[in-house]
Amino acid sequence: MEGLEGKPGQFTAKVFQEPRYINEDLCTACGMCTMYCPRPVVDTYNERLEITRAPHIDYAQAIPSSYYIDAKACLRVNFETCNLCAQTCTAGAIDFSQKPKRLELEVGAVVLTPGFGRVDAAVLEKYGYGKYPDVVTAFEFERLTCASGPTEGHIVRPSDNKTPKKIAFLQCIGSRDETCGNGYCSSVCCMYAIKEASVAKEHEPDLDVSIFFMDVRTMGKGFDEARRRAQEKYGINVIRARVPRVDQVDGRLALTWTSDDGNHHSGIFDMVVLSVGLESPEDAQILSEIADIELNHYNFCSTRVDAPLSTSRDGVFVAGAFQGPKDIPESVTQASGVAAIASELLAEARNSKTVSITYPEENKALEEQEPRIGIFVCHCGVNIAGVVDVKAVRDYAASLPGVVLYEDPLYSCSQDALKSIAEKIKKNNLNRVVIAACSPRTHEPLFQETLRSVGLNPALVEMANIRDQCAWVHAQEPDAATEKAKDLVRMAAAKARLLTPLEQPTVDVTPGALVLGGGAAGMSAALSIAEQGYNVVLVEKSSQLGGNLRRLTWTLDGENAKAVLKELISRVDAHPGIEVITDSTVESISGYVGNFTSTIATGKKTRLVNHGVTVIATGAREYKPKSYGYGESPRIVTQLELEEKLARGKSFLKNARNIVMIQCVGSRGDDMSHCSRLCCTQAVKNALKLKELKPDCNIYIFYRDMRTYGFYEDAYREARRKGIVFLRYSPDKRPEVVKQSRGIKVRAFDRLLGEDIEIPANLVVLSAGIAPGDNQELSKILKAPLTSDGFFLEAHAKLRPVEIAVDGVYLCGLAHGPKSLEESVAQAKAAAAKATIPLAKGKVAVAPIVSRVDQDACIGCGICESLCPFNAIRLSKVGKRKKAQTITASCKGCGICASHCPTLAISMGGFTDEAIMAQIHAFSGQECSEG
């Protein structure tokens, strides 16, 4: 981007586009150009560990799936010589006439997702990086462990290509380090180091792996559990120390460190992996100037706690690591959240710029006729034809029953070939098509489009994969490959004969949402959905909105939590699209995505609500401590109780000399197994507040790992600077709270002294964790699974963090797991985006591969209902008997129901029993009659 002018709703963005020198529409991704290019280029995708050529593709699954030419290296571009690639490209895709382009885009909003930058090499130098070859970054190590990487997953030392025996991971490289300007914590390195260490152990079980942590910060959902398992299963050594430097001794690497009992240690390793942190993007400054947005003091995008996805400029939004270091699920969450915010802004212009495609009506009469099959055996240039005898396969295809047309196009996926296929379908009245070419995973949609364009149902095409799974993998055995190709074509034709047109079912959507829970997350989600133009019913269990936010007074960033709360409530109350029902719970929910009906109980009264989508934002609660003398003295309180006290005034601190805080009360294996993520920051926040109100008091914090991730690290550092004492304890030696006649004493083991100490305490603050709400009931009602910790389980930990296994139900806030206010708001927006998608579409389209139940054959046994992983099949009364019925909107076509049906009453669209049996029979080659 070179410029951004205008205002929210009407921006003009100037964009500079570099040429690829390869025409994307013509490129077939065959790789000939890379093979012939004389010019080596370091492969940045493989972290410079390998060499590629000027024309290349970053990796096999890259999108666009066409190659491009690295202009910096290309001889033709720079010196007007060579041109070898253009001569070898049989598709004629290489085009050196392409010029750089300047585009002006009219857009209503801008989303900034530039990601993160890399820590400067100068920072790494003090750890021997660049000087000693066996010091690598974690990014490089990632490529070494990857099966598709330069070493095919074999872990070797760069210096001698031998397998190392001892590896050390050094954490916090370029993070939590003010000397390099990065005072923040990068949040992700602890987890990725443990992951890389585990993967390394999986590849080389005899490896000795040590990780040097300051604190083990695995505070993500399920991360602590994963860390524990990894430590147990792989025997990874956890060493708590910061290693200041790396030296080389006799070709190996020497480390020295000081453990927290004050002892010095040293060790020799074969390889050192630097767990480098995430920096702000290199061009953050330039971007901030062009987009006119503010950055924070670390050059990340500056945002507010209650609006974590908005930059300082209206209409310009931010998501991902540019907003602050974060991991994949959080980036994905923010990305969805930012979509919701942009959509709130532009709701009135929805669908004004999108493109829709129309198709001719389906020729049903032709489809019903006897199969008239056309088979197209693709050369794919030399990709297939170089190995498989394509003409022989084509001629063989002619002998198969039902085949009326057989051809061998050079590139069946090219625009002209597609056109010709379409014409031939029409001319020969074909009603089934077999394409023997590449993989249906990548190309079936293309050929389905072709069928639709000539009025055939898209389900009437079948592909035989004779490239990816034949020619390419049997390059040395052309005869066998040709035989295999014939067999695959025969099997595909057998299936094609039995293909039937499939309806493209759609379901109408009730344009409204039900949001469960009126805390910060629930209100944010409700507001976003309503702002996007849909009605929301917000159900809150208690008598007022606010949830846990009511108990907060200020946030660490110095913002006023009460003001945030007030603003949210007034916006919700004022919004005409939101109806709030307090003192109410959901009694039952029936239906499926697009059409839910819920019973809301308010006291003894109930009412029905129809809605298209459901958002779970039911929150969680502060854990009620069962130990440390909680409840036995007014001077033993939880962090939230302390915050409430502080909000009322500081008089209770008058005589306070010593205040002790104890971390991980209830969390991390104390009573609940999960890490509550927030308590470390909460403790630091309250400690700083106490120090501010009463500077002469001593504050001691007993912790296991201080998990003040991201920018919260600043507050932690400030707390240390202000003299707050942090003492680490291990779970087998927890501090004890001892009540005496005159007061309270905390007894604990001091690691540095090596002995027990006693602190007389005026106040003991327990950092009680976050316990899940009573989710069991709702989990049953929604068929929404819970984690072993009792929080709701998302559909995919990384890629679908706000969806659950049930379609049309979304998840946000503490109900999903412990998280900060800022994270809750972002996640609520994300849930709102996902929830609004079906509402905005108005219809839910269903892939036609769904199951169908033959009502006559069904005996209503219910096996399918209980086995379906998607709750997509249910028993309902038909006449007098119960019969199974597929909820097409939820069905994913996995077929578990069909393979377990006692009466064979269930068939799968596109994968019927008959079709699969026909494929099996065709596989045998000989006449294999029904047994």
Binding site: A147, I863, L867, H900, G931
Partner: protein, 173 residues
Amino acid sequence: MIVTEASRQLLEDCGVDSDRLSLEWASAAEAPRFVELITGYVSKIRDKGPLGSSDGEVSRDTIKRRLAAAVKAAGARKPRTLLGNLAKKLSKSGDYSKEAIANGVKAKVLPAMRSERISHELRILLSEAPLDMKSLCTQTGASAEELEKIMAPLVKKGLISQKKGKIALVAGE
């Protein structure tokens, strides 16, 4: 996988070495693992030789006949119901260990699959020629006692007849 385990036990019941059926996992990114699995598997089958030649396998013809009957057995309502119920039970308990599945199938599903298989095979055999009890036993691999039990309902329904030690299909079936 419960279905795979049922298939495995049904194959063994037909005299097929169940190692010929393999269930493996390779995620989309695990091409090298996939190649390793396929290469290993093909060479394993190569070592075993053609169907019917591996250790413990019965003759190819017998196998084919039994398999023909087994396909019907695998499609029959009773064993399928039992299989479905087992799957239901295991999914409820969340116990997907190999042992739980293998034992469950063996105890709950195999007996029904086996008797269905034998029942169908019986009819295939008899459709060629009447046979005596002893040869039926050898052919199907069932004990006399087992056969009696399976034949009883067929006799009752008048589908087969038992005269002078010879068992025959009743014409018209």
